[in-house]
């Protein structure tokens, strides 16, 4: 996987974790199971470090999509974008090039991540 896409997927996982931790109901559910969710500081630090490694143009796209959809990076499963559930065109599956390591869904604009080859 190209490094920039790898970083974006990692950032999406991290943002989902932060969101879940800030969600009162979800937090209460986890705490009721005995899990500790006390320390948000390191997550914010990790996010800052991670975003510094992402190319500014991709980060801009990511942040815009995150604000719009709540989830900026989505998997492609089969030939379907799991963000909008529309088919992705065959061109998506052509080789990812150095000039274009990050591809977006032509329908919803989300960043696509091919889950399984």
């Amino acid at each position: 996987m190209p490094e920039q896409l790898h970083l974006l997927v990692t950032l999406q996982d991290l943002d989902a974790l932060i969101k879940e931790t800030l969600d009162k109901d979800r937090r209460a559910e986890m705490e009721s199971l005995g899990f500790s969710l006390e320390n948000m500081g390191p997550l914010r630090d990790a996010r800052e470090k991670l975003t510094k490694r992402i190319d500014a143009r991709y980060l801009r796209i990511y942040e815009r999509l995150l604000a719009k959809h709540g989830r900026a990076v989505v998997p492609v499963e089969g030939k379907t974008c799991l963000g909008c559930f529309q088919s992705v065109p065959p061109s998506f599956f052509s080789q990812i090039t150095r000039d274009q390591p990050v591809k977006v869904c032509e329908n919803c604009g989300r960043i696509l991540y091919l889950l399984i080859d």
Binding site: M1, H6, V9, T10, Q12, D13, L14, A16, L17, E20, T21, E29, L33, G34, F35, S36, L37, E38, N39, M40, P42, L43, A46, R71, V73, P75, E77, L82, Y113, L115, I116, D117
Partner: protein, 156 residues
Amino acid sequence: MTIRLSEFFEEDLFIPALAATEKSAVLRELVEALVRSQRIREGEILFQMLEQRESLGSTGIGRGVAVPHGRSLAMTRLAVVFGRSEAGVEFGALDGKPVHLFFLTVAPPQDRSNLYLPVLGKIVETVKSARNRRRLLSAKDFDEISEILEEADHDA
């Protein structure tokens, strides 16, 4: 929702004796079982998410048990990796004691089956029993593990 925990444990995701002796290495070894069994491709992405989850607070819930968990884009479906350490590993557990039983529980963000939280809950419930913990630690093979889990499912 009735969860049968025995249905979520698989033989190739059972590590009878973890080689790792410290927290980060345990997480890597558990993730490696998913990569080796071709359930995931991008182990590093999952590992990083788990490390970040641990930075929130240890998933070592005490009594020698840890349930590292989280959702990741690296996953295609929910999976449980069960690993054991006879010597125990310092995992920053809530009671400060070493951890012997590890239940890595990971799911995709869009877990359509909605089983992630119920499975986590069922694992926590099952290991509350000292008898179950003792038996899970001493079981000779995966068949015995399955029997213990089936009994726990039946008793619930």
